[in-house]
């Protein structure tokens, strides 16, 4: 299931791209798995096929998928370094927001770090973190 909100300020293609990226990074797809065709995916999600095509193009550029002419789009093998790099990039926007908000509220770096540690402790038992050495 993909959660797409057409009315969001975030364009649809960005939403879908981020969700697909997250799932690939989280290991929900195996290397070599085929993604739905543009046509089928568009029918499934009820959005313009051009949007799907755009997302596949971006993912290919970033190295997440590869398109084989006439066959389809497949999840490509991710080297561990690439994966870590990609994950770091993925969390970038959330961090931007956190830091901006902190500055806005006048909270310093040390305070935020303390708050973050608390949060990790809170969340830890429930999350299954992907192995950082994968």
């Amino acid at each position: 299931m993909y959660f797409l909100n057409p009315s969001s300020g975030v364009p649809l293609y960005v939403q879908l791209q981020q969700q697909l990226q997250q799932r690939i990074l989280a290991g929900q797809f195996n290397h070599g798995d085929q993604l739905p065709s543009v046509r089928d995916f568009s029918a499934e999600l009820g959005i313009n096929p051009l949007t799907i095509a755009k997302v596949y193009q971006i993912l290919e550029r970033e190295g997440f998928v590869e398109t084989r002419r006439g066959l389809g789009t497949y999840v490509s093998h991710q080297s561990p370094a690439l994966k870590i790099e990609a994950r770091r990039r993925q969390i970038g926007p959330a961090l931007d927001q956190l830091v901006a908000e902190a500055m806005h509220l006048g909270l310093g770096e040390k305070e935020i770090q303390a708050l973050l540690s608390d949060k990790f402790r809170q969340f830890k038992p429930k999350t299954v973190k992907p192995n950082p050495h994968e």
Partner: protein, 293 residues
């Protein structure tokens, strides 16, 4: 863009009084869905009627697949589908007879598709048009526009009078058509969430002019509402970049503007020595901001 299937070039049209559409220009690329938005009375229906060949522009020209839609005959109209804003099918005619008319007039009429759509929307062929609900009347108009598998499809408020499920269904039908035949679609609508789902380009019409005509993604990516506050040297008076809407508050300035590589909220905040808070806007927000200015 001379080979675009739908071209509107410097078109002006008035009825009694000031022009309803003034020097309007845009083109729709092949295989794309163009969402034509605007408030009531902004000129959407007039533009669509000119494209359908019902009326002529007073200045400028419109072109459908290179032809003037007002003068084209049966052969060219095989490829042009039009759905009117109103329910325009005669009252006494039976649903089955209307479909038969389509079968007789169009070489590319897809009977299977028409039958499937009748079943999907629960329209009985034996019912007379006037016995249908308003929503069903318009659905029949939609079926008549789409069943010939046109190359260019003009839809005037296709989703008006339809319930939520039917709206979703016709959007799916439109998407299916472009997937199968590379159809080019121009649809005018009030219902922005539908447009956001399927349109790749957007035109916002206000007072007969296009305020915006570009891909939806770039529109959403570039238009931001930014609140500047905490001015160290006072709020700026001049030197404000062009924006769709400007609101001055007590020691704050809110701009709805298009960001570019040169004009970002950060650079402006730096220039004015203040803080900024940015919000991305949904299409509905963008539309309201543009319509108000």
């Amino acid at each position: 863009m001379n080979d675009a299937p739908i071209i509107v070039q410097n078109v002006t049209r008035s009825f009694e009084g000031p022009p309803v559409v003034k020097d309007l220009s845009f083109a729709v690329k092949p295989g794309s869905i163009y969402g034509f938005l605007g408030r009531n009375g902004s000129g959407k229906t007039t533009t669509l009627r000119m494209l359908a060949g019902l009326i002529k522009p007073h200045a400028g020209e419109v072109r459908i697949m290179g032809n003037d839609p007002f003068t084209i005959g049966a052969n060219e109209r095989q490829w042009l589908g039009y759905m009117s804003e109103k329910a325009v099918i005669p009252a006494y005619i039976k649903v089955g007879s209307v479909l038969k008319l389509g079968r007789d007039l169009y070489q590319t009429w897809d009977s299977a598709l028409a039958e499937a759509m009748l079943a999907k929307y629960d329209l009985s062929p034996r019912k007379r048009f006037m016995a249908l609900s308003q929503g069903n009347q318009r659905l029949l108009g939609f079926i008549m526009a789409i069943a010939p598998r046109p190359k260019v499809l003009l839809l005037d408020e296709p989703a008006a009078n339809l319930d939520v499920v039917a709206r979703r269904e016709i959007l799916d039908d439109i998407l299916e058509l472009i997937r199968d035949c590379g159809c080019t679609v121009l649809l005018s609508t009030h219902i922005l969430s539908d447009v956001e789902r399927v349109a790749d380009e957007i035109g916002i019409l206000a007072k007969g002019n296009l305020r915006v005509s570009e891909p939806l993604d770039s529109l959403k990516d570039s238009i931001r509402q930014v609140r500047f506050f905490g001015f160290k040297n006072g709020a700026p008076n001049g030197d404000i970049p062009e924006s769709f809407r400007t609101v001055r508050g007590k020691d704050e300035l809110t701009l709805t503007l298009r960001t570019s590589s040169l004009t970002t909220p950060e650079t402006l905040a730096q220039r004015w020595s203040c803080q900024q808070e940015t919000r991305a806007l949904s299409l509905e927000d963008i539309f309201v901001e543009l319509s108000r200015s």
